[in-house]
């Protein structure tokens, strides 16, 4: 008998194994919600799949007469705008600062401890400061995402850059490369796959900060909607929204992973070319 840790499922086996818990959970939910509904049709805590589908249809397809827009798409657009802006700023600044801190000992000495200190402050604790300073508009929400994910990304990339084999940096210099050329041609391309990896890991926290900010002060957005309908215990809206948020997060993760594989094949040797 093989050791447990040496037993590997094949490709088909992996799919079945991966799908099994999801199917079991869905089936269990279907049974429980149906039983609940049969006992008391007015009960809201465990909406049936039919009820959720009905509400999802209303949110995704029908124009809300008060605002003249379709709620799900308006919420999604507003949230993605905030998320995208925040992540774009965080990604760009962590790439620049990470490379600079990783390559230049002077900067590492000056700003390294500062970034380390900032990255241990819980971002949610800064949220009131942001609302007071920047008002309740978009700026504070975007900034929360930036401040929430950028310091960790900066530290990750600076550490990765500094850990590039010194042989490579020396070799580049013996080939005549300037500081700028080492950054541009040696460090930057090797950091890119790690940046994408870091961004993928930041998606989760970024969603947390987005939804927190929207829950507290907003009039549109996925987080706003979930916390709004919470007042009416509208689980038949909350659950589809949560599923939609999860689907978006998984989708972004997949897209980023594909971009990395396509653009940086040398960083994924197992996948072949």
């Amino acid at each position: 008998m093989k050791r447990l840790l040496n037993i590997r499922p094949g490709a088909g086996g992996r799919f079945v194994l991966g799908a099994a818990p999801v199917l079991v959970a869905l089936a269990a939910y279907a049974i429980a919600s149906q039983a609940q509904h049969d006992a008391n049709p007015a009960e809201k805590i465990l909406p049936t799949f039919q009820a959720m589908a009905r509400q999802a249809g209303v949110m995704a397809l029908q124009v809300d007469p008060q605002t003249g827009t379709i709620p799900l798409w308006q919420d999604t657009a507003a949230s993605l705008m905030r998320l995208g802006t925040g992540l774009a700023i965080a990604t760009a600044s962590s790439l620049l600062l990470g490379l600079a801190l990783g390559l230049l000992p002077i900067l590492r000495g000056t700003f390294g401890p500062f970034v380390a200190a900032v990255s241990v402050v819980p971002p949610i604790a800064i949220l009131p400061i942001l609302f007071i300073t920047f008002g309740l508009g978009e700026t504070a929400k975007v900034l929360l995402i930036v401040l929430g994910v950028a310091p960790v990304m900066i530290r990750d990339l600076a550490g990765f850059t500094a850990a590039l084999p010194s042989e490579q940096i020396i070799k580049a210099q013996t080939l005549g490369a300037s500081t700028w050329q080492v950054a541009l041609r040696v460090a930057l391309p090797q950091v890119m796959p790690r940046l994408i990896e870091s961004l993928r890991l930041s998606l989760g926290p970024a969603f947390v900060f987005l939804i927190s900010a929207e829950a507290i002060a907003s009039d549109v957005g996925l987080g706003y909607r979930v916390f709004l309908v919470r007042r009416y215990l509208a689980m038949d809206i909350i659950l589809p929204y949560v599923a939609w948020i999860a689907l978006l997060a998984v989708l972004f993760d997949l897209v980023l992973s594909q971009i990395s594989r396509r653009a940086y094949p040398w960083a994924h040797p197992a996948a072949g070319r």
């Binding site: 070799k171 080939l175 005549g176 700028w180 041609r185």
Partner: protein, 264 residues
Amino acid sequence: MTAPSLLYFRDVAVQYGDRIVLEQVSLAVEQGAFVSVVGPSGAGKSTFLRLILGQEAPSRGVIHLEGEPLAAEPDRHRGVVFQRYSVFPHLSALDNVVFGLDCAGAPLTGRLRGPRRAAAAEEATALLARVGLSHALDLYPAQLSGGMQQRLAIAQALIMKPRILLLDEPFGALDPGVRKDMHGLITELWREHGLTIVMVTHDLKEAFTLGTRVLAFDKPRHFDDGGRAYGSTIVYDFPLDKGAPPVDPATLATLKDRLDPDQA
């Protein structure tokens, strides 16, 4: 007056804190020499190469390259091949070799374009063919064997026509057969390009086969004081040119013993 030596060390020492690694290193290397450097692990052989590279400054003493004080940081006049990590994993073999020409010709973008890129690629392709990698131009280093990676690293360094080529145990990680092929290649390239080479090696036989001169680094006072506070220096300097006196077998045996007990 004769022309100055290509490389000149006078009373050079390297010290980290109160730990002395090298001391009293004096040496003159002539243009065209193939200098092998041997010594036990930790004797400061790599430190010696880092000094020549300019990666590190001596704590004391003077180093000259072609009669001028050595530039205090690595530059294109001193090429290097390390045992590992000498090539860029994110560039194809061809791009690895073009890299140096890119840097020289495109200070801002770091990448040549148009006809200049074509000319650089042609030059790099010829050099890659010379080291036996014509079939691997578009492969990434991870797709090359250890021996092929070292061939690539050598071609990459040679395209800059360095005044001196430094090799730090370049064949140390290779299989014996591959290593033998590499010995042939480096000897041919040394002759064809009129190179001056300083090569650190663990392998005494390799040192004597390839070199026109062998330097042995060790602690001179190792035997009487237990090697506490003293650094290594050049304890033997064997010229191997034609007409040089034969190496004393007894000295060679001592050296073999010091280098690696289980190799003897």
